[in-house]
Symmetry: none
Subunit: 181 residues, 4 copies
């Protein structure tokens, strides 16, 4: 007999606070107060802070972007389209901090970890499109599709962890290098 209103309020409060304060300042008490909810109601339905964030992630509340990707037949162009929508998130105010918070949450909690790449569209769209690239011969048959997806996302993450002043074009250079053959 679970209250959907409470669930809504909790996930809402969680994503709001996650965005405004980051993962490390996110507390269950803060969420409960923000959501106007008792702490027990949170503990009743989620086993940990991580589970809560994973739920938000799955609901698309943390990265509210649609990473759907067209298949125009131009592999490099399509991948750049996807990449630009990911980079757009990072260029928003606090975008880098948001990514690092997601990474921190993913490092802390397995639930978040398994859903992080997913909610950025890596498996669903990027890898899928790469497999298309193999089918139509734009990529060699033995191209390690999943690894290439991880490499692109990973390069973005490592750059963010390094707090380097981002040159927006750099990851695109990587992508071009990956498919230039």
């Amino acid at each position: 007999m679970r209250s959907t209103a409470a669930r809504e309020a909790i996930l809402d409060a969680t994503s709001r606070l996650f965005h405004s304060q980051g993962y490390d300042r996110l507390t269950i008490e803060g969420i409960a107060k923000e959501a106007g909810v008792g702490k027990q109601t949170i503990y009743r339905w989620w086993s940990s802070r991580g589970a809560l964030i994973a739920d938000c992630l799955l609901d698309g509340r943390l990265i509210p972007v649609d990473f759907d990707m067209p298949d125009t037949g131009d592999l490099l162009g399509d991948v750049e389209t996807w990449l630009r929508s990911v980079l757009a998130v990072l260029e928003a105010p606090q975008g880098q901090a948001l990514l690092r918070s997601l990474v921190a949450a993913a490092a802390d909690d397995a639930d978040v970890g398994v859903h992080l790449g997913e909610s950025l569209g890596v498996e669903k769209y990027l890898s899928e499109r790469l497999r298309g690239g193999i089918r139509d011969g734009q990529l060699p048959a033995d191209a390690p599709v999943a690894q290439i997806g991880r490499a692109i996302l990973g390069a973005i993450i490592v750059e963010s962890l390094g707090r380097e002043a981002r040159e927006p074009g750099e990851v695109i250079d990587l992508v071009r290098y990956l498919f230039a053959r």
Copy 2:
């Protein structure tokens, strides 16, 4: 006049506890007790938990491996040599957890972030070797060296965050793909 004994004891305790308990369970009080030191002595010299970890990282206390890399003339072979020594860290017991703890620390704290790649030898050895690959024509002149380094490290990190049962060969496939042309 700063006590070197205290500094030693603190960094030692920090790395010991970091390895045994991970970043999220690492507390200043725990370190102080383990090191037989007052908390104030820690706060006097380090501004945060992150600064402490960054110092351990620089001292090579967290990843006690030498990532020096030969230049045998065989680019792919040399990169695989480097990669294998990185993967060896992950295959040790708790290796994956160690990497995730490092990532969590890097996400939390800028000091750690800027030194993470460094202490895995990414800039110092890997990128340097790649530049050598450009010089001797094994890589095209416009290969984005730094990005390739981040991509390899990033793929490893993303895989670890995803808690995927590691197939040891997978990242090597990526490396081969990157240089196979």
Copy 3:
């Protein structure tokens, strides 16, 4: 909803430690540990160490003596009865130290101060009995009743602060002098 068990345990621990260690060695942490209680539970209900002691005082946990005083018609005799029960507290082991601790607490904290004389029966019994002495003519109508009470208690306190080896009869001499006319 406040836990009476916790309140009981805290006041109990406080008075126990106050007796055994004195005011200056009395710590909130010590009380919390002795009471098997979290520190916050103390801070939630008492604003300071003094408030805690004042509460113990009001509950009769620090000076567990009944200072009720008969009215036999013999003013001097009755006052001596009261006085002897006060002196009995001082003659107990650590009695002088207990009084000094109470005085220290009263000097530190207003709550304790306003209740100190009260819990020794100065206002309730001694002053009341003196007013009876005025009514039946054993004291002049303009005798400063409250001041006389304070003088007797004050003489005891000053003597204790002076660490003078107490001659038990001395304060009684004062009382006799006060009423001999």
Copy 4:
């Protein structure tokens, strides 16, 4: 080869801080900093905070008033003269707080205790004058001189501990009652 300059500076700082902050906020570190002195220099010459205060007391740095008392032949008048100079201290700004701080220090530390009454002139002047009162027949031969002194001082202290809004005349009523016969 003790430095008198340091001694001066320390006692000066102590009494200055004692007056401005009270006994409970008086710290050795604060005194050292205020005096421009190393902590060790304090610990070298005084065994405790109390000893320091007792020294200040003896030097007349805490109650900078001369309680010398004339002998005009009028016992009550002379005692009132002494009393008024004591009450003047209390009526100064923070006078009550100063007295309570002295009492707290006296309760904490025996050295301070034995000198408190003394530095208010109780033994030296008041008791002495009372003995004169016996000699010239204004007091009965068996009047408990020391006790009467303590009673007067004690009444003032108890009143101050009770945080009662002082009616300046009240203690004088006590004195009049004590000698009206």
